[in-house]
Amino acid sequence: MSSFSFALAGIGLFVLGLHALIVHAHLLRKILAINIMGSGVSLVLVALARRGGDALPDAVPHAMVITGIVVAVSATALALVLMLKLAAETGSATLPDDSPE
């Protein structure tokens, strides 16, 4: 299958994640959504690195994605602790609904 179909699936993941990031109020769900968006971006990056045909794929995007995975897990850990801190303060891990009364 051509590398473009993998890139298109990556775009699909990014948009799915963005949609979930907007519509869900629970912070854990938002953290999952951001992680899936990140996977989508990596997928586009690596799929486009393989456009050279039968030649070996470009190693620079591969290295960037490995770096990205480690950065994503540390950001996730920080976000989870922030969420727990918020839940400890307010008793709920959802963002408050700040619509005008």
Binding site: F6, L13, A20, I36, R51, V60, H62, V70, S74, L82
Partner: protein
């Protein structure tokens, strides 16, 4: 053969998108996380299909394994916390009122142009591009390693990795600086209470698995010079061993006192920065290694970085609890 490969890839991508959709929209948070872990494993398969085994290893160890452990631990803490604050058990209410449906449709409609724009952008790229492969292959002999991804990570673009170990350290400092959160049960006691009945099975598993995990980590570290593997993969496998020990209720904090933990966590960044400073003075460029010593220097750098990554990831998992011991 090509038909089989096409079918496999198509099913893989459909499964990936389907799992992402289910993980983001299932009503129960626990099943959402379980689906997310499965999503990470499928992602690792996708990396294999894209001829990126280095990423597949990192994704399987970190993206699926460690992220999943982090998320599940956070969910357990959240439920323990919400248990005595509100009646919310982490199960979200289904979006059945008009407002929520409106927001869903509005967001979907607004995201359609984003989707089409991105698709157009990707499809308008030239179908044939080699990127930097030629440059990498031309300079691979001087890099000290024969695996192109390791060469990029620790020689050609070593400053990426330098900054990355600092990002890890920064995340750990940020988490520790937030102080301890009042949990009902710490992760260690979750491990003890819920697994007490099966403790002999768990202990046997730990006895068998932890040495194997340490050997796998050492192998990945060594093999990274000429085959898929390297510091990140080795570090995350070691971190997985630490997480296993923590969950089994082993007194890991007696071995890793606060001082030793901090020293190990900063060892990677310190060695990286001193090597960068040395190469700046001696070679005239940041993190430029002399070709005859590059292999040894990279192995040293990777070993220290892997230890730091392992300790930092394990400390991220145990949260704001490591600093008191």
């Amino acid at each position: 053969m090509t038909l089989l490969a096409w079918g496999f890839d198509g099913l893989l991508l459909l499964g990936l998108l389907g799992l992402a959709w289910k993980a983001l929209n299932s009503t129960d948070l626990f099943s959402a996380i379980a689906l997310f872990i499965a999503f990470g494993l499928l992602m690792a398969l996708v990396w294999v299909r894209l001829e990126a085994p280095d990423i597949a290893l990192a994704e399987a160890a970190i993206g699926a394994g460690l992220s999943g452990a982090l998320l599940l631990a956070a969910l357990a803490r959240l439920r323990g916390m919400e248990g005595n604050v509100t009646s919310n058990t982490g199960v979200e209410e289904a979006p059945n009122n008009i407002d929520a449906r409106l927001v869903q449709w509005l967001s979907a409609i607004l995201l359609l142009p984003v989707l089409f724009g991105l698709v157009y952008g990707v499809l308008s790229l030239p179908g044939n591009a080699v990127g930097l492969s030629a440059e990498i292959n031309a300079n691979l002999a001087a890099s000290g390693v024969s695996n192109p991804v390791t060469a990029v990570l620790l020689n050609f673009r070593a400053y990426d990795t330098l900054l990355e170990v600092f990002v890890l350290l920064l995340a750990l400092i940020a988490i520790w600086s937030m102080g301890s959160i009042q949990f009902n049960r710490s992760i260690e006691t979750i491990g003890k209470t819920s697994l007490e009945t099966t403790s002999s099975v768990l202990d046997t598993l730990v006895y068998l698995l932890v040495p194997v995990l340490m050997m796998v980590a050492a192998y990945l570290l060594w093999v990274g010079a000429h085959a898929p593997g390297g510091a990140f993969q080795a570090g995350s496998v070691l971190a997985a061993a630490c997480v296993l020990l923590l969950l089994a209720g082993w007194p890991l904090h007696r071995l890793l006192t606060a001082m030793r933990l901090r020293l190990l966590a900063v060892a990677g960044p310190v060695v990286f920065v001193s090597m960068a400073a040395y190469s700046l003075i001696a070679e005239g460029a940041l993190l430029q290694f002399p070709p005859e010593h590059a292999g040894t220097l990279i192995l040293l750098l990777e070993t220290v970085a892997a230890l730091s990554i392992a300790v930092t990831l394990a400390a991220l998992f145990s949260g704001g609890q490591g600093q008191h011991e």
